[in-house]
């Protein structure tokens, strides 16, 4: 791995001071159409307002006003981590303002910052749940109190604002720095020798350090990473693995415990490893990523199969019907993989990011953008009931998307990811530019040595597999355009001005002195693929999954005209761009005792469309399955 020092100030969530690849920001990459632009538009026009509305309604924003008025804990709304949701909304707004210059949104953003800042205490402490008369003392419950976790999201919001509006006078960065200074003072050397039960401040402090140049924040992140795993926190019924306090980060071999916590911690540990040039730590995290991806990840990219503890289970325990696969764990997995991609440049990380974006992050919001999945099951056995629109749903109801949850971490997490999505499309290094995600886009940047690179990407991906890259402006010097060829894209080809060539899975690079108007075209095979699973994933033995491009497909009862339990797959083909499955539909034998010798029931045959998994449950209550039993 080549680590080169960079000084990017790109409008991007992650800007390491060194690494194999340099991120590009929202000023350099714009998604101009297609699948993701449509979702960004829904996020901007529907989701952000919806989230803000519910946070006002539930009193989560009002908690800051009550802190100022001195009426807390009376009428405090929400759980102990509700402050963090407001900060995630703030971060989403910051990216959206950076992306679209929405003046109205900027006004709402500033108003929110004002209400939050007013609640900050003179020493930098900021939390509506602790420290007042009638509340528990500050930092008296690090296991479950989420105080440092909340700061983490505050810092990420401040970084988003600082990088998209460096000259903004709203004061958010100052609020964050006061809080961060307070954290360093309180939890630094000689202070409280502990960590937060929910990792998140680790990547956030590292990023605040990068954004401000204040090395103390990175050092504090490193301290938090090193402390964890040494039995710092109390043992609990779920075990210390729940909050990754069972094994030191650099000794662990796999992600375990609460899947969001595990990914956030891993992301922060990569940041620390990169900033402190700690090859041993980075190698440990790479091993953890490899083990987690090969043994603890759903075909959707979803992670954390256990409802109990919202957690990773043992290797290969990946039941479709009890998939927890929390939306936030998907966001956390993207955070972890993206940091490894920047550090190491390997396309496998972008592969997992793509899979997770299309099949977890895109699945959570409804088409309208005002309902969300908290968990993302891969097999819905019972048609859900339509959740109430006027009260928050329990946390993990996964039958139909719900407008809001009592624990509503996922909606703003999706919102901040979608608003900043352009940052994950492309990177540069000393020799050129790398395309990692395929969407119609406009890329305008400058390489480290000053070479100007301007590209336009046209594609109907993932509907179609042709990605056409046109050089808009370039200079009379050679540079290298690198395109990711997904691992699933067996038989891809690349067309350059020199002709067509095979593009084996991994990356394919074109080095030349490009002329404006030059076209490079990647042709990815989009025929449906039928995959089975490692036989140790017992829960899907005898089943296959159908995928098309980066999208995992599923069968939904509204298309089948029957309950999905009755259907077995006999054939898959593509007709006019639609994937059709020939299914054998049979009534089941309702025996009194479900075990014994029984003949396979005969059935009728029907051709049924398979739809992208992310599209399911947008047509009312239904049953659904991703893994299809073979006839």
């Amino acid at each position: 791995m080549t680590m080169t020092t960079t000084t990017t100030t790109a409008a991007t969530p992650v800007a390491p001071s060194r690494g194999t690849l340099r991120p590009l920001g929202l000023r350099e990459v714009e998604i101009t159409g297609g699948f993701w632009a449509q979702r960004q538009a829904v996020n901007a026009t529907a989701s952000l307002g919806h989230i803000e509305h519910w946070m006002e309604r539930e009193g989560w924003i009002g908690n800051f006003d009550r802190a100022v008025a001195g009426t807390l804990p009376l009428d405090r709304g929400g759980r102990e981590f509700s402050d963090s949701e407001v900060y995630k909304l703030l971060e989403a707004m910051a990216w959206e303002i950076g992306r679209t210059d929405d003046a109205d949104l900027d006004g709402r953003f500033r108003a929110l910052v004002g209400r939050i800042g007013a609640a900050q205490e003179p020493d930098g402490y900021l939390n509506t749940m602790f420290g007042r008369t009638g509340q528990r003392p500050r930092y008296s419950d690090l296991e479950w109190g989420h105080e440092l976790y909340c700061y983490g999201h505050l810092f990420q919001a401040a970084v988003a604002r600082a990088r998209t509006r460096p000259d903004a006078d709203d004061g958010l960065l100052a609020i964050a720095r006061r809080a961060a200074d307070h954290v360093v003072e309180t939890f630094g050397p000689g202070g409280i020798e502990s960590v937060c039960g929910h990792a998140e401040i680790e990547p956030a402090l590292a990023e605040l350090g990068r954004a401000t140049g204040d090395r103390r924040y990175v050092e504090q992140a490193a301290l938090f990473v090193e402390r964890r795993g040494t039995g710092t926190l109390a043992d609990i019924e779920l075990g210390r693995a729940y909050y990754q306090d069972d094994v030191p980060v650099r000794q662990a071999t796999v992600l375990r415990g609460h899947a969001v916590r595990a990914n956030y911690l891993a992301a922060g540990a990569v940041d620390v490893a990169v900033e402190t040039d700690d090859g041993e730590l980075l190698a440990a995290l790479t091993r953890q990523w490899e083990h987690t991806v090969s043994r603890r990840t759903y075909v959707t990219g979803g992670q954390g199969s256990q409802h109990e503890g919202e957690a990773f289970s043992d290797d290969f325990v990946l039941p479709p019907d009890r998939a927890y696969s929390e939306t936030c764990a998907g966001v956390g997995s993207v955070m972890f993989s993206w940091r490894l991609l920047l550090a190491q440049g390997l396309p496998r990380y972008a592969d997992l990011i793509e899979r997770t974006l299309f099949n977890v992050v895109a699945t959570s919001p409804s088409h309208a953008g005002t309902e969300f999945y908290y968990t993302n099951t891969l097999h819905q056995r019972v048609p859900g009931t339509v959740p109430p629109t006027d009260v928050a749903s329990p946390r993990a109801s996964s039958s139909l998307r719900a407008p809001w949850f009592a624990v509503s971490c996922c909606p703003p997490n999706v919102a901040r990811t979608l608003a900043s999505l352009a940052a994950y499309v492309a990177t540069t290094d000393d020799d050129g530019l790398q395309l990692h995600q395929y969407a119609p886009s406009r890329i305008r940047t400058t390489l480290a040595d000053g070479r100007r690179v301007e590209l336009d990407v046209e594609t109907a991906y993932p509907r179609d597999g042709v990605v056409r890259v046109t050089v808009a402006t370039t200079e009379d010097r050679p540079w290298t355009l690198t395109l990711r060829v997904p691992a699933w894209a067996q038989g891809a080809t690349l067309v350059t001005p020199e002709g067509e060539q095979p593009a084996p899975a991994g990356t394919v690079a074109v080095t030349r002195t490009f002329a404006a108007g030059d076209v490079v075209e990647l042709r990815l095979p989009m025929a449906p693929r039928v995959s089975s699973a490692d036989p140790r994933i017992d829960a899907v033995r005898g089943c296959v999954v159908v995928e098309r491009g980066p999208e995992v497909l599923c069968v939904e009862s509204v298309d089948l005209g029957a309950d999905v339990e009755s259907a077995r797959l006999s054939r898959v083909r593509e007709v006019d761009g639609r994937v059709l499955a020939t299914m054998v539909i049979a009534a089941h034998d309702d025996a009194a005792w479900p075990y014994g010798e029984r003949p396979e029931p005969a059935g009728t045959t029907a051709d049924v469309p398979l739809i992208p998994y992310h599209d399911w449950a947008n047509r009312g209550p239904s049953t659904m399955r991703v893994w299809l039993p073979l006839a």
Copy 2:
């Protein structure tokens, strides 16, 4: 169904005032040898003392002393339900004293009763967790406080004592009656209109009513049954289904929520239906039993597949590797089925009881009787670590049996079941005697019309399938001997003095004027059986289970000489009484991404013994699976 009024005072846990069958008690049936006698002996000589030792050590018994001394809540040991565990121990002791006349145990029993009784308050209230200065008020947390649940186990202990030692002067029955009177006064008409978050007082009150003839207790049980399901308790994150407060009992179609709570409630509701001659309620419970058995029960008889909420999941969600299958839910299932068997006489209930006794209740304790499973997984993927012997383990560690748990409901629940097991062997009705469970046993009873029936049962069951019933004494009048033929026993035969005849699954009856020395022999086929599952149980598709008689078998890594993940089944046969499986053992392909097209790995073949599931994990850490993938 014929319901005839009975007036049994048998030494049995359940003595309905009417029903199709009449229970026999410990004075009438004695298990004299074999599988269950051996387990009863271990229970008596090892488990009871072990349980008492831990309850003293953890302070659960001492809580009563502290209540008397007025020092509570200081140093109170255990969770809010710890009183109930002491009562369950008391019940186990009472049955054991009734079974064996153990004078030392009787002394310990009386000492315990004395310590408990001293803590009872003048108005009958008895609980070490609530009501004192520094504790929460009485009945201020019906959702989680377990106060009524604790009474339930107190009542069951008192009933056990009253029926086994009607003349005992220890005062336990009086303690229970004072508490029950207090409950009737506090929760009866005009009192607190609520129920306990954990059902258990319902069957216990009904039984106390039967044992004392005090109808008020039955009426209070009926009131509790009718109130539940009407949203009486608070809504919680797990939903009101967790404590069956979502749907009224008589409207529900299936057991759901916490599996122990669900079974205890159902058992109590059967008691109420029988005592109040409520055919509608009994029909509802019958439907619930049928649906639960055909769609929510493991092949072991285990119930409650979800770790989250220790609960039933949706229909057909029965993953072997995430089986919760709590030991106490197995005990609760036996309670529910036994009550339906007495009411209706159908052999299907005894079939499930047998399956659950051999494969859940017998699996929980180690061979030594001093370690227990709380949960009973059907697939152990990772060899467990040996639990500490000197501290209580977390609740649901299922890798190896543990000496004690922080929530240790299961050990005394197993103990009371084993000590009272003879009560589940046989029943009578007006025309004769029914044998439900097969064990070497001595049966001495009198039919309702005064006919004397004395039988001796000899059998090596479940090692061998021959059950030989010899008539010891009888009178010169005909009566009917009925034997259960398990549903799995296809091809069974019955040999009577008249010759051999087919014995189809269900029951087989012999009516004659028996002479002393007459022999009836049931011959059950004990060849290993290979069963698959209803295809809607997705988690075991492509797998089979091997059973022999009532025992579910498994493969354990210590026999395989390899991890169980590597093995597939190609053939099963019996050699010299051992079940041998020919397994294909193959190394797995450790791919970076576990989904795709992959060839089945080639492997070597070996003959491996399959062992009874209840025997597993008695030889150190291992991996294990019940469901075997087919080669």
